[in-house]
Symmetry: D2
Subunit: 346 residues, 4 copies
């Protein structure tokens, strides 16, 4: 850490910083500059909590050099995390995994129809929400537990794996009994009680980036899960808040290679929430694969014009099928391949 | 709601929109324009979930005219909500309530010393965290339940009311037994399970604006609490995310009059998190009062250079005292007054 | 346009809105709703300036349905604009055009070396700044006119076309004599005097998106150029401001398909400014092509560690060469091809 | 400056950084840490252009400690700049200067009527645009030179000083002949050709913050003007881009004390553009004064419902008059006073 002193800070203030650093158990190295003095703090293993230093007279700013996360970093573990799921599917290796399905589970007929359609087109994981976080208390909040039962049925009929969201600690328990991957939504990315529980869930966690979370904060939230003992975290870029309302969110494509540089964890892309418009899903999905995403999370509805939520961003099955055909040569071009459904893997 | 059709959308697509609106139980009013047709949806009492319409062929965009929230709005209740606390203190009326204290409860000595200092300077509510949401799992997370006991002691010794944060459902129970006002933090603004519980807590809730939440989303989160039966919600502006890192957050001053225009709920300002720098707290606090804020939430620490968190933004007791002296004439200038501590009110 | 009245606005205020709309020469269609009345304004060909209406008592909000731009829109001209450059190169058709070179022209040796390297790897246009907009008056501002002479020389030696930036009206004249494409930088995207001149320059214009410009504002700035008679505008996505400083800018990938949906103009991507880090340039470039970008603008320097500006984001020649090899199969996968250098086209 | 090396960077790479720093004429001080080595660059007077260092192998990041601006900084000149205008008015001292008037000059009658109204209420400077930057080429662009003549007339009739915008170099010449203060608009904050001209204009410059400019960038743009010899720069906070569209811009109140901390230049607030809604202008204006702003720039129109631009954010004369009455006690409360019109000063 670097402690930057104010211009003209007297020697006594510099001295007090040095003493405080030493009291904290580290080594201080003052560097007098022409404009101001800076004091290096050396000997820290992880990130130092600089509250005490920041509050000292004459201190202008603290600059952190050490990253605040550990276990999620490449420096902690250089080789990539490969998550193994039922049926031999892996996330984080060479395969690109496509998870698709409706925003919400609405009925048995709808979810089965959706599952069959996405499997037919080549998806390997079925998505679908039973518990839905909605900005308004008056919007459709999902079917709840009966929705989970329908998802289970869809898995039995199609062999697809399941990813679905848990919104609170009780829900996490219920979802954990059914899902192959438990999703933590963007609004809960810093719900630390939930993250800690997810760290003890014994199932892979798909952690979505918060609406205005930095990549560092996303990694820190993943660190909460790893710190509780669960190494299987899949990050998800789903767009961030922006000043331009032409898209629902601003899809941060570069987050994919940035995460791959900083962390060993896999990262998938959600082009549906990332854009909010059906017409933009395929180009953004292609781009995410070209940038190295380990998978996709895509909203597909058998009848988007009858969807109870997110109709505008859900693909028609035939659009999804076309998109899947476009993705394969792009995955090939960068030396990866789109994972095939269980049936085809046989 | 207004359904905007694409340029050149054929009559058949317009017709299908009209029929769908009628199926949904509303009245449709098509308006053919020079560039495109728009279809008005009339007869809705609250906001319509437009998923089905958005997904119809030829539909370009939905424009909502009706606000999605109800009970929090001025239109639902024109007169301001005045929240009555123990000892006759009110929030939302003419009084401006100052809540002050350290970021975290650290020890009995620290919290008592802080409480005495802020009461001396004129605060009426003591703030201090027992449960602390921290981005990193390795940062100090608060004293937990013993911290609540220390807060209780501080209230007994000083007569100050208490505001402190609950981070999850269990914590809410514990905090509710001790606090006069239960705080829901920015990172939990859209933790709907927690909001629903807060709606049944039987205590006033101080709801902080999320890091990148729109004012409409803040009001919708408050609506979750009111919808469960708790009318006593105090909103809190604490700055939002910005591209400029010179301050910790970008304090959105205009949120104060915007909320007063849209809602009957009181709103207080947190200039400490809103700026992140001790030197900026007093000018921003003065500004918030001048703009009509119903109170302040300010970090004050007896020894900021020994604080375990947020040292850089905590005021020294003498700075807080000076700030309080500056605030009074400003409150007077707009026809309000800074609430006096219980002792002085006698 | 839709005029939304306040809840409870009396009939007289609605009447005044209707009369004002009629005075303005349009038709008014009031729609009484349950919560509030809205008044549709019909009969406008382009966007209406609503200042007068916005100021009327009882008016809460104006909602624009008509887009404010004309000539740049798909509705004005459904087929894509294909810009024809010297030597048969086209932008906006099936070819994907790669423009590459150093941030600044620094010396004859540097620019010739760079030009040979990028041509060798397959670029068809040489980029390089003679006039450099710098945040600080004390940073290197470019070689100016002598830099233009060096660019001209590089073109003579390599057959590459030239794109270079003009920062003011005088510069535009000078650049126009040398460049094949005149660049208008992000900071000047709303320099209307410069845009109008560019509209009379008789050369294609590459218009970069402003640091926090919406796509609509980018299109409106292009409209300034078309309105003066120059139809050859190439838009450029180069990232926007964000709260996350891990990258220099936040590359808005979805801008590519959004622009292709709204406008007939071509759009290229600048992954160098869009990320600010050499390691991120190739993945973002691949993604841009996969999303349908009509070309790339990439910083390549023969010796990045001796660059006078933007060293951290400049590719080494061998990195550029590798990137070009990765791009070709991706372009193929979506039915396009990377344009070949003049020599190879023979 | 601090050069942060990658984790595990070999000694040879550290050595090359040290050598490059020494080649650049500075002193290098390596600091080996547990996670990574950092190298301090010492001996620089101003900010170092680190392009060469950033490009070296093994370098992860550069951290600037020295501020990139000089003459505008408090460290260069500790005492505040006080700008002296005709008639004894000063900006930057104890007086708070209110500049008010319509967005655009529309007619002789309009501007005279506006000038009389704002003087009556206590403004000392008349604002009004003759040249208007508009996003769309089809919007009203101002009266141009005849507008300047009308402003001159308004000054003769009322004794008010004039502030009006110049959009390009030709306009700056024309405006300079008439205005007491030349305004550079937000969209031109980084139009460096215009800034350099403004540095030679011989008149005070009011420089508005760009739509997404950091405070550091605002100060750097002011530095361009000072570097050309003009010390009389008034900065202006007018709101920045945000994700929340409830206001036109997000007024960054804290920018006022931040600028006062970093620079000796005065800063005024524009609550009209800062909010975009008439009802928010007075509370934000009061707040700006409470936070220490050196003045205000406010849109007032004799008949907002007939304004050719910005009708929704223009105050009615009686609203302005009420606002002026509210401001005076707030200025008093912080030891300042609202400047009185020339007549009253006699």
């Amino acid at each position: 850490m670097l402690v930057v002193m104010r211009h003209g800070a007297p020697e006594s203030e510099v001295q007090r910083v040095v003493e405080t650093i030493e009291e904290m158990g580290y080594t201080a190295r003052p560097m007098p500059g022409r404009q101001r003095t800076t004091v290096g703090l050396i000997g820290n293993d992880g990130r130092v909590d600089g509250s005490r230093l920041a509050a000292l007279p004459g201190v202008q700013e603290l600059i952190h050099v050490t990253k605040p996360y550990k276990q999620v970093s490449r420096e902690w573990r250089p080789e990539r995390t490969v998550i193994r799921l039922a049926g031999g599917l892996t996330i984080g290796g060479d395969d690109v995994v496509v998870m698709a399905g409706p925003c919400s589970v609405e009925s048995e007929r709808q979810i089965i129809e959706a599952a069959l359609a996405v499997r037919e087109a080549g998806a390997t994981v079925l998505r679908g929400g039973a518990f839905k976080p909605r900005s308004s208390p008056y919007s459709f909040q999902g079917l709840g537990t009966p929705g989970l039962a329908l998802l289970k049925k869809a898995r039995e009929e199609t062999g697809l794996l399941l990813v679905t969201e848990a919104m609170d600690e009780t829900g996490l328990e219920l979802v954990g009994e059914v899902a192959d991957i438990i999703q933590i939504g963007a609004r809960n990315m810093q719900n630390y009680a939930l993250l800690k529980r997810a760290g003890r869930a014994g199932k892979p966690i798909l952690l979505k980036r918060g609406l205005a979370a930095t990549i560092q904060e996303l990694l820190l939230s993943a660190e909460y899960i790893l710190a509780e003992g669960n190494p299987d975290v899949i990050l998800c870029e789903r767009g961030v808040r922006s000043f331009d309302t032409v898209t629902r969110n601003l899809f941060d494509l570069a987050a994919i290679p940035v995460v791959h540089g900083l962390s060993h964890l896999p990262i998938v892309a959600d082009p549906s929430h990332g854009t909010g418009h059906r017409d933009l899903v395929a180009p953004v999905a292609r781009a995410a694969i070209a940038a190295g995403a380990d998978g996709l999370l895509v909203e597909v509805h058998p009848h988007p014009d009858r969807a109870l939520s997110d109709g505008a961003q859900s693909l028609y099955p035939e659009q999804f099928e076309r998109m899947m055909r476009e993705l394969r040569p792009i995955a090939d071009a960068i030396g990866r391949r789109v994972a095939e459904p269980a049936g085809s893997r046989a």
